[in-house]
Every structure is written in C-alpha cells, then in structure tokens.
Symmetry: C2
Subunit: 711 residues, 2 copies
C-alpha cells in the first residue's frame, strides 16, 4: 500500500490550514509576496525581509556551511551544537573532553578560539548582478569560453566588492545561471566558543534519533564574534573586542503554540527541485547508490580503525558528517520510491513539454527543452566520476599536497586571473584547512583511507582517472609515502605555502612528488570540465527560463533552487498526521525525554538535567498552552543542509528557536516537497533558555540576551 | 520508565480541555449536574436526561448484555454488529453465511427472527426503591436471613412492577446495596434482524484490531422491534407489527468535530471502581490470572477442535466472546502494573482510613471500614472457587440438565418463593437458552470441554467442589454420558421442562442422572453463598456509605459502580497523546482502511466497499472539518462491557454514532479511570450512513430514519 501514500495525502491536506510551506524564497521576493505572508500570519511588513540593513535579516549570519544569528548587542551568536561541533572538538583533548562535558565561559576572557577556519559572515548587502554577470555572453558563446567569461565577470564583481576591508563577497547563480546575486558579508575571523551544553544534551538521541520525531535534542551552542578595537574584522587577538552587530534578534515574549506562524532565515545549501526526469533517474539509479556505498565503506573504515580515544576524537567530526549524509541519501532513495519521484518528475516534464509545444511557446521554449535533454547525460557521467575521484581527497596529506602545488601554480599569476579558491582572498582559508589537519588526522588511518580511495578510482574507466597520480603513488609505495613525508607537521605544510613551483618540482617529499606528477592531468580534466560547464550553462539558462515561463503562465511565482545563499521560508508550527488516526504533535516535552532516557549513549542526559526535569520546575520557560516545557517543535517550513543553526522567528520576527533537522519523510524534499509530510525540527528557544537557566547556570548569557534567570 | 506513566500524565492533562470524562452517571443524578453538563457543552436541559418519558432517554434500549437505541418511528433499532452477532450467526448456515456476506431485508417481510432469547427492552421508568428494598433490614439482620429478606423484597417489587403486561422489571443494587433502583422496561420479544453489513465491515480488523486504535470497524447492525397488533409485546408472529417507540433518536445534522461534546446512554455491565486494596490484590494476583488461564485453555480447545465449517460456525460466537474477555483481562492485568493500580488503591485506602479515623468520623465510619476489611477475604476465596466451578457450565448438556432439574424443583413452589431466574417470568428465557444449544453445540467438542472442566475443578480443595457431581460422571463415564443422552435434541430438552422432580429421579438419561445426583450439594453451597452475601451486604453498605461521605466531604459527587442499569456518560470527541510528540487523532478515515486492507481476513473489505472508497465519493456524509468521511472516532466518555451498541449523542441529544470498544490503555478503567488515556471508540454515524448509502444500498432504511440517500 506504500505507493498510495502520495495520492492519498489529498485526504489530509484539506484538513490542514492553508499556509504555504514549500519555498526557499529570496529576500528580494518578499515584497511581491506581501499579501500571502500577511495572510499566513506575518505581523511585520513583508518588505522588512528584503532589507539587509534592518532586523531581522541583518541579524542573520552564516558560518559557511551552517546558519546562525546574533542574539545580543555584544556579538553573541546562536547556532546548532552540531554546527559548533568542530570547534568543541577542536578545544577537546583526551583529558578535557568538551564534547562530553560541554563548556561554559564564565567571562569573555574564558571564551575559546573556534576551530581554525571558523567564520561568522554577517549579511550586509544582497544585489542582483545578473546584468554584469551575463555581460558579453550571447547565445553563441559556449564551451570553455563561456565558462571563462562567467568566471571573469564573477571575479571582477567579487573583487570590486571586497575592496571594502573585512568583507567577504560572493556571486551565486540562480535559476540555472540566468540570475545572479552578489552577497556582501562582513567576514569575522575571530570567532570564539562561548557555551555548549553537554554532548548528551546537544546531541541527545545521537544517530538513533537523527532525522526522527519525536525528538528531544538540545542542539544549540553559542559563539561570540570578535573584531579589532577599531570595529573591523581581524585575526584572533587578545586585544580584540566583541563585535557589535547592527541588529540582533530579541527573544519572543509570547507563547509559541501549534498553528502559529514561523519563518526561518538562513543559508540552505543545495536543492535539486528543478531537475528533469532524466537527471532524477541518473541520480537515483546510479549516483546516489554509488555515493551511499562510498560513504558506507568510509564510515566502516573509520569506525573499525579508530582504536584509541585519540583516534575517536580525531575522526569524530568527519564520521558524524559522513554518517549524517549517508543517512540522508538513504532516506532520499527510500522516499523517492515511496513517493514515486520518478513518476512525479515524468509527469512534470510531460506537462512542461506539452506546454512548450503549443504554437505560442514553440519558438521560444521547445528547443530549449530538447537542447537541455540532449546535453545532460554527459554531465551526469562526469558527476559520477567526480564523486569517485573525490574519495582521494579524503586522504588529507595527499589533498594538502595537491592544494599546495595548485596554490604555487596559481600564485605565479596575477590575482584576478587565478582560479577561484586560489586567490589571495582564499589564502587564509587554505591556511586554516592546512592547520586543521593536525586535529583530524591519524597517519595509520589516513593511509587506509587512501588505499580505499585508490581501489575505488581504479574501477573507473581510464579516461575518467588521473593515471599519472596512480602511477606516482604506485612507484613510491604507500610505506614510503607515509614514512617519508614531512607534511604530517603543520609547520611544514604551511612552509610550502610560499614556495615557488620549482621548489615543488625539486622536492623529495613523496606527497609533494605525487602532487607534482599528477598536476598536468588535473589541469586537462579541469579544462574539459569548464568546456562542459559552458555548454551546460548555455542550455540550462533557456531551459530554466522555460520552466519559469510555464509557472508564470499558471500564475505561480517560482523560488530558485537552494545554493548556499540567504533565503527565508515560512509556514506554521504544526504536527502532522502520520497514519490514519495517528499524528505527530507539534511539541515534545521533558516527559518524552525521561521516557527515552536509558542512562546509555545516546540517551544519557547529564544528572543535573535529569534532576531539573524531575523537579519539574520549568520556571518562566513553560508554555502556557502546553502546560509544560517545550523541548523540540515541528513546523511546515522548508529547509535543507546549510539551514542548520538557522534562527526560527515568530510573526513579529522574534527568536523562537533553532532549526536543526528534518524528518525521514522530508528527506526527499531536496528533490520534491510534499507539504503534507515535510516538517522542520527545531529546538524551542524555551528549552534553550531553561537549560541555560536551570541546568548549566548560564545566567550571565541570559541577561546578555535581555532575559532574567528565574531564580 | 513505564511506572512513570501515570505520574507524568499530569504533563498532559493540563493541555486537555477540562471536560469530565470519568463517570457512569445515574440519570437521576443529571439535574444536580446541570451546571457542569452545560459547561461541558450539553445544549438540552440536563433534567431531560432524568426523564424516562422523553427523548433521548426513552429512545434508549437494552438488548440484555448490549445497549441499543431506536432510530425510527417504526421500531428500527441500532446496535453493534458484534451485539447482533448471535442473531446473524443464528440465521447463517454453511450455504448461506450471513456472517460473511451480511444481510439486508428489502421489505419488512424479509426481516429474519433474531436468535432465540433476543429481547429489546425499552426504558419506561427508573425509580429509587431503596426504602422498600431495605425495609426490615436492621444492622442486626445478617447472614442468610439478610439475603433472604433482600431477595424477598426484591421479588415483591419486581412482581408488582411486572403486573403490567409485557414489562420486564429489575431491581438493581447501587453503592454496595445501600441504594436500589427499580428499572421498568417494555420487553419486546419479537426482534428481527433487518440489516447487517458484511462481516468484513462489521468486524473489520477482527481480533487483531480489537481494543486498538486506529480503528476502521463498521460495527453496526439494525434490528426491528415487533409487537402484537394491539401494540403489546408478543412472541414472534407473522401477524405482529413494528413497534412504535414513544421516542426515537434523530440523526445529527451538524458536523461532529474534535472537541465537541458527546454523551453515551446505555447499560454498562460491571465496574469495580470502589474495590479496596485487598480486593484489588486478590483479583490481580489470583482471580484474574486464573480466569485468564481458564479462558486461554478453553479458546485453545475450541480452535483446535473446530475442524469443519459447521464446527466453526457453531462455536464462532462463543469463541469470540471468550477471546474478547481474555484480551480484556490481559489488558487489565498489564495496565494495572503500568498504572500502579495497587499503589493507587493503597493510597486511596489510606486516605479513607485517615479521614475515617478523625474524631468526627470515627464513631460512624472507622468500624465500617475495618469490618469490611475483615470479611472480604472469605468472599474472594469463594469468588475464585465459583469461577473454576463455572467451567462445568461450558458443557452445554450438563448445564441444561442442571437448569432443568433446578427448574423442576423450583416450580414445585409458589412463584414468589422461587429462586430468581427460576420464576415464571424466566421461563421463556430458559426455553430460548435450551433452544439455542442446537446452534452452538457439537457433541464431540462439548465432551472435550467437559473433560477440561472436570480436570480443572478437581484441582480445587474438596470443600469447594461438588463431589457428588464428579462421582456421578465418573461412574457413568463420558462415553455413556454422551452416547446415552437424548438431550442433544431440543425437543427432548424442552420436554423435560414440564416434568416433575420425580420424573427426573426416575430418568435413565445420563445427564439427568448427573443433575439429580449433584443437586443436593449445589443447594448446600448456594445456602452457604447466601449466608456469605448477607454478611457481605451488612458490611458493604456502611463501608460504601463511608466512601460516599468521604467524597462528599471533598465536595465530590460519586456515581455508583456499573451494574447493568441505565447510565449516561459525557465527555468530548478527543484524540490523545500516546507518547511525547505523538498523538492519536480523534477520527479515522477511509485512507487508513485502505492502508490496512490486505485482502486477507480480518482486513478483507468487500469489493463493493473498496470500490466506493477508491471512488472517494463521500456524498453528503463527509465531515466538512475533516474533508473526508469519518469512519471511527474517539471520545473521552466512560464506558464498559454492556455499553456496546450504545448510541453516542451530541450536545443536542442527536445520534452521532455507536460506541463499540475501548482501547488497551483504558482496559483498566473498570477498576480505575485515567482520564488522560481512557477513550471510547465509536463508529461514526456518517460511516454507518455512507455504507448504507453507497455500499449496501440500504436506501429504504436511510429514508426511514428521515435521511435522503445521496443519489
């Protein structure tokens, strides 16, 4: 009966309030949506959501991979525990395990540097740059020439933008590259860990509960952004001072209840909602199953080979990421079958083709569709090869050596002509990555990871492989590769950063030798990729224009696929029917936490939390409507990876929680959203504040947010 | 964590609307409850619920064991499919299986006689007869003398009441025998089966879904009450005419939604809510486990030995009853542990004792409590023995012979002096029982049932056994017992009804010989029982008076334990939290039925129902709030066995469905009600009407109820 599910969802939808749920909207789309937002319950003007100079949007921050928000005038940043995981781990050691115990800085001086590379990126401006990005790009320009032109335009825009010191700018592509926005953010490089609850709060339920409901996870942590005394972003320094954001979110004062309007602002990573039937088939029959296998083998290896506590700490963050992604792909694949994704896509494609074939559309859109269909297979084959070749980058010293040699080659050229990722603006990030290896690397394990990857790439057709790389490694041999390298030392890795190409060519370090030997082949495949991308862009832009025109003809406004840029989504706090006669309710409470509690990981709450729960003294943090403390909640909002840590806001734009997960049934939402089943899981702000108040004694932070501890 | 459940239910209760749920109220209590009933949502005057001469109460009927109600001016009676099961089975044969296929009489002439003994008892009057019942019974009167006096008073009241022809009267005991009500009912003896849906509708989900939610059972059937042409009750005759009830229920016109007020009027059988801690312990550690074992062994035997279709049909009704009761006891035992019933009872007992020990109460109540505690053990031991000895009555020919011989002995005395159950008023019921055996009896199986029972009673202490009975059977031997008897013939059984004691004494029929041989011992134990009951009554009345006074001191009105008399319960349509973050919703819909549907029993809906569901044409029967057809619903009302078939009424006293089950978590409710978890399951009237309209074409019955078929 499973195939019935989508079809029969219509039984339910009619019973649900008509508040839009699907949609990762561009802030610039908000004014046009004023009516529907107001109807859904938004109490502040819709135009406020397009204004990067006012709350709530300029209180929203990116952590590059996660989302975050300012909660105090002194730069206090809230995000998920799992987003701060790397920094918590970075500050942990076998004798001082902050992952397990949590951490609370009593004073500013006690705050700990976040993991290298940590950034708080504060929204400052979001500008439509479609015209300058596509300048000079006529339909006739295709292949590598097109890619190069787009890249040049993009670099020019970014470079101009970053003339303002301390800014990080980015130009991202929307609707297949037909629309482009320049995102200007203040790049705060001195980020410090302020507070993380115990791991058994922040990661309560662990992998078992991941993607699950009911949920009882205190998935929150606090950073603080620091800047130089002049107020400008600066590298870590004891002399730095807390950043004063132009805006910060205020904790909600009213009771958040089931049915209430909520919205989420953050940086969703990638969605594939406009993929065609052919692309969908390739992903679900080949690319995802391959990725699933690669991740499983990787996780298995890391778990099997992590033998000491130090091994575990080193690979904890990587393993968590790998497991999380693996579970997501598995969920997507299962859900695609249940929901008949292939059929949905086929029907959507047929409808589009039918519409495009109409006399009035034929000239403009029919060709766009067939051109795209014709080109896509080549891209999908390349995507799979890239995926498999990517496993080599799991070997951290090999990856470092290749990045270093690429850097050496790029820096020989003027900055503006270099490949993105290897410009001066990227130098610090590279340094941070090179440093981070120290914390996440065990040579014995890294070697096994490399062996696994080599075995994998050798299964590819020769044309898709870097044979020179394989040959170089084979000649040196893995024993000498690891025994002979100096790159295990961070100082040595960093030392290579300023060396010329010639120094690399002359090096005897085995990893450097592999990097040098394999470089030319890498450049050839990169060139091929750029040619492909140029041809892809030339066909995808008209294809997406057809999709948009088709939607517009039905009076429908489209939002672009997620691409890591700032979006907002809105909906309402809402449980959902799970089967006929059964439903998820919108809130979990401490009762459920007690029922899950087993004393064993991952259901091993700290004794002080259990005591506080059993005392049942929720203080001011209880929900009047619920009669107890809300722990996690469900809403119909539309999020994906990258939204983790996003602030959940109520109708007045006040802080009511942090989004941290979806549910298994919503896993398919990267490809297609079913409003009836798709739900966001958030940790309710009242649980955050209660834990701070009654469990961890973070009273000074509550006061900093304008709250009064209840004792 | 299971033991937490009751304690932590307080987390939830506060979130639930404050509508009383516990309480099987006497109609006479309604006027005093006017304020709370109005507050809960009742729209008709509370006093109407005490008026047996007006709707809705005089539309309520009893089927003796089940509840029912009139739904048309022509005597159409609605009840559960499982309440009409015996009649459906009675009219079935191997070639014409109404249990499977259902039945619909196209015209009055097609209606089939219900199973022998079927009665529709129509409420006519309910009178407090405490004073005449307790006349002459001083505290000094105890033992058998007391029992005899109570019985004499009772028989006199009933006899006077039944002077009106066609009336069945009953005097029942409330609050441990301190209060008595005389219930006068019109006894309609010509009952006919009008309509039963297919078994796979009426019993959808079968034993698997029994006591479960979500539920999709069309547990309804229709009888019609017939009377003589003069309007008076009469035995079956083709000349009889449909009974015209003084009132009948009208189908609701509004949409029944979650949160709406509902009430149920019917005849709940037995509850034990005022049992003491000592009684509770005896039941849960000994009596119930014994009963559970006896039922399991009985069911196992019937299933194992039913080898032909005829065997199955013969024992289907018995087996269903046994399985149902077994599941209930199991559920009660499980729930008692989960809910810490023993602890609850111990605390309640301690509170009562503490209160009774206060100076102002000591003289009146403290002794009442200790007297009751002192006497109860003897009663509990006897209860267990009665239970085990009762297994002998499963052997139908043995039971028939004993009843016949008892009848012969009783009829030698004036009617007023006879034992209740053996008066002239009981003669027809006895005849019906003797007839019914033909439909539910297979000699080979009956013999095995008797062997099983004999093995069981022989484990009892000798003082608790009927040794004469065992000896007589042993002397005759089972082979001769079954081979030599004529009682397998209904005519032969009925022939014995008018014979004198002497004829029995002279009989060579082996079952009659056993009945005669065992009679004296039966009389001795009955006399002992009456002595016990007299002493029990003498202590229970003051004990219950103490319980009531204790409650009154706290401003609390008590309802009496269920005793098969007319009660009403009210609450609201409401799902319930089942675990933190998950809930039951108040309605199921055809979607869930489709999801359960496997094509195999018990999830094998008729093809015509499946087709109608798939067509999704709910016509006028859909709930606007739900957007689809409601199938079953949950409410917080308080029911137990005997309430099956009860009409569910809305705030205006209109018909909205038929109660048919509770849920596992509510199984303990016979002993203690947890408002947070206790729910009644009803089949929604709209599902009944939809099945009649779209599936079974019972359009003439819809019209008879004042409804218009939707096509």
């Amino acid at each position: 009966m499973r195939a019935r599910l989508l079809a029969s969802a219509i039984f339910l939808i009619s019973a649900l309030p008509a508040v839009a749920a699907e949609g990762m909207w561009l802030p610039s789309q908000a004014p046009a949506m004023a009516e529907q937002l107001k109807k859904a319950g938004l109490e502040i003007p819709a135009a406020a959501l397009a204004d990067m100079n006012a709350a709530p949007m300029n209180a929203i921050a990116s952590l590059a991979g996660c989302s975050a928000s300012f909660l105090s005038p002194k730069g206090l940043v809230a995000t998920n525990h799992h987003c701060a995981y790397g920094s918590i781990q970075y500050n942990s050691s076998a004798g001082n395990d902050l992952l397990t115990n949590g951490f609370l800085a009593k004073t500013l001086a006690d705050e700990l540097p976040a993991a290298p590379g940590s950034r708080v990126l504060v929204m400052e401006a979001l500008t439509d740059v479609s015209a300058p990005m596509l300048k000079g790009i006529t339909p006739a320009v295709t292949g590598k020439a097109r890619t190069d032109m787009v890249e040049a335009n993009r670099k020019a825009l970014i470079s101009a933008c970053e003339q303002t010191p301390g800014r990080r700018c980015d130009v991202r592509s929307y609707f297949g590259g037909g629309t482009w926005y320049l995102q200007r953010m203040i790049e705060i490089r001195d980020v410090r860990l302020v507070y993380a609850p115990a791991g058994s709060v922040g990661n309560y339920g662990g992998e078992i509960d991941n993607w699950m409901w009911p949920r009882h996870t205190g998935d929150f942590s606090f950073y603080r952004a620091y800047v130089g005394a002049d107020g400008n972003p600066a590298a870590f320094s004891k002399a730095n001072v807390p950043y004063q954001p132009r805006a910060f979110l205020k904790p909600a004062t009213g009771d958040l209840k089931e049915g209430d309007f909520v919205m989420i602002a953050g940086f969703p990573g990638v969605t594939e909602r406009y993929r065609t039937a052919a692309e969908t088939t390739a992903y679900y029959s080949d690319i995802y199953p391959t990725q699933q296998r690669l991740l499983t083998e990787y996780s298995d290896l890391l778990m099997r080979e992590s033998k000491t506590e130090a091994d575990h700490i080193a690979y904890a963050s990587i393993l968590k990421g790998s497991d999380n992604y693996k579970k997501k792909i598995k969920g997507q694949m299962d859900a695609a079958v249940t929901a008949d994704l292939a059929g949905t896509k086929a029907r959507a494609g047929a409808a589009l083709s039918e519409w495009a074939a109409r006399p009035e559309n034929r000239r403009t859109h029919a060709l766009a569709i067939s051109n795209y269909d014709a080109i896509i297979n080549e891209e999908l084959v390349a995507t799979r090869a890239t995926l498999v070749n990517g496993t080599l980058n799991r070997a951290q010293l090999l990856s470092a050596a290749r990045q270093l040699f690429r850097w050496a080659n790029e820096r020989a050229r003027p900055d503006a002509e270099r490949e993105p990722g290897f410009q001066d603006r990227d130098r610090q990030l590279l340094i941070d990555r090179l440093n981070l290896i120290d914390r996440r690397f065990v040579a014995r394990i890294d070697r096994l990871v490399l062996e696994q990857a080599l075995a994998e790439v050798q299964k590819l057709p020769e044309a898709q492989r870097n044979l020179a790389l394989e040959k170089a490694i084979a000649e040196i041999g893995l024993d000498r590769l690891y025994a002979g390298t100096q790159l295990t030392s961070a100082a040595e890795r960093l030392a290579w950063l300023d060396r010329p190409v010639e120094a690399f060519a002359a090096s005897e370090d085995p990893f450097i030798r592999v990097a040098v030997a394999s470089f030319a082949a890498d450049m050839v495949s990169e060139s091929r990729m750029k040619d492909r991308l140029g041809r892809l862009h030339a066909t995808r832009v008209p294809f997406m224009a057809a999709v948009q025109a088709h939607a517009a003809a039905q009076g429908q406004l489209l939002y672009p696929d997620a691409n890591g840029s700032l979006r907002f989504t809105y909906g309402q706090v809402q449980g959902r029917p799970i089967e006929d006669g059964k439903a998820w309710t919108a809130f979990t409470t401490p009762r459920g936490l007690l029922e899950k509690e087993s004393g064993k990981e991952p259901f091993n709450s700290p004794a002080r939390l259990l005591a506080a729960v059993k005392a049942g003294n929720w203080g001011k943090w209880a929900s009047p409507a619920l009669g107890t403390l809300p722990v996690n909640n469900l809403s119909t909002t539309d999020i994906t990876n990258g939204n983790s840590g996003s602030a959940v806001l109520n109708a007045r734009g006040e802080f009511v929680g942090l989004a941290f997960d979806g549910t298994l049934e919503g896993m398919l939402s990267d490809w297609a959203v079913d409003d009836a089943t798709n739900r966001t899981i958030a940790v309710d702000s009242r649980y955050i504040f209660w834990v701070m108040d009654k469990v961890d004694g973070a009273h000074h932070l509550l006061r900093e947010m304008g709250l009064t501890p209840s004792q």
